[in-house]
């Protein structure tokens, strides 16, 4: 088995009114129009799975977000061919256009709450003997909303358009991704500075970022 050969590497989806060619951090990207959606692509083999490659893609997405009014980042390593990409975009067109509207004029902020899990429901990999059991437990865990998430929601809901919660790994208890309209960013920062005292845990708030957590799942 060898790494996949050259194909279309998808960085992001955007609205169609962008230049045909874009050079970002030395990489020659292309706009592939698919109806009223533009795929920002590069003809290349998929990148190696290294920290440098991940950092570079993050930097490219950040630069693109700075240039374009709306951008939905793709998963790392998304390589396909043109017909498959066209089919994919056509099939998810409504979802993509709705996501454009949702994220327009917004940035992502990330709240991380650190600390050990106190309750059994969050104990990862507790006694799963088969893969099915493991996945079933993961599904149950994902449905369990920690009380900290409720506190964050109550504190931040006035300045947030949407949220996504991810269970933390190891020392991370919880990660909450917020979609914040630009005009509410100052208010968001003000309120976020009070989270530490409300939760009595170590809390970090980072951003603003491109809207990585709010792009639709295409692949």
């Amino acid at each position: 088995m060898k790494p996949a050969s050259e194909g279309i590497y998808l960085y992001a989806l955007a609205e169609p009114d962008l230049p045909r060619h874009l050079t970002v951090l030395g990489r020659r990207l292309r706009n592939l129009p698919i109806g009223n959606v533009a795929a920002v692509i590069e003809r290349r083999a998929p990148p190696d799975f290294t920290t440098e490659a991940v950092r570079q893609q993050h930097a490219i997405i950040t630069r693109l977000t700075a240039r374009l009014p709306v951008l939905l980042p793709a998963r790392f390593g998304s390589v396909t061919d043109e017909p498959a990409l066209r089919t994919l975009v056509s099939r998810h067109r409504a979802e993509i256009l709705a996501a454009f509207e949702q994220v327009r004029g917004c940035v992502q902020m990330t709240v991380r709450i650190f600390g050990m899990c106190d309750d059994v429901a969050d104990e990862p990999r507790s006694g799963a003997r088969t893969g099915t059991e493991f996945l079933e437990q993961a599904r149950q865990r994902s449905k369990h909303v920690r009380p900290e998430a409720g506190i964050v929601r109550a504190a931040m809901s006035a300045c947030v358009k949407a949220e996504r919660i991810a269970a933390g790994e190891r020392q991370g208890l919880l990660t909450v991704f917020h979609l914040v309209p630009l005009e509410r960013l100052d208010l968001y920062r003000q309120r976020a500075s009070g989270l530490h005292s409300m939760l009595s845990r170590h809390v970090t708030v980072t951003g603003p970022w491109p809207v990585f957590a709010f792009a639709p799942e295409l692949f």
Binding site: M1, F49, V107, E163, T175, W209, F219
Partner: protein, 99 residues
């Protein structure tokens, strides 16, 4: 005494007064920057740590691609193109918390 006439390209007499062009209207206030520029300014300010980079880009999983070629005596018999998502199970569940 006879004066010699010099050839000149400058017409005699005073030059006609220039018409003053209308002044541009004075700016009352600077219009607010368009949202894209605002995003550019705000996002450029942020300093990304490795944790943020990995979390942002890999949180929803990664796509792994590979070509699989089954060959016998240097003859390629079967070609399979693999494209797989590696992702935590709970990341792919529908999100019920968004507005």
């Amino acid at each position: 005494m006879k004066r010699s006439r010099r050839h000149s390209t400058v017409p005699p007499g005073r030059p006609p007064k220039r018409r003053s062009s209308p002044r541009p209207p004075s700016r009352v206030s600077t219009p607010p920057p368009p949202p894209a520029r605002l995003v550019a300014r705000i996002i450029d300010e942020s300093d990304s740590s490795l944790l943020d980079v990995l979390d942002n880009l890999l949180n929803r999983g990664v796509v792994l691609n590979a070509d699989l070629i089954l060959a016998l005596a240097d003859v390629d018999l079967v070609y399979v193109r693999l494209s797989a998502i590696l992702c935590a199970a709970d990341r792919l569940l529908p999100d019920e918390t968004s507005e």
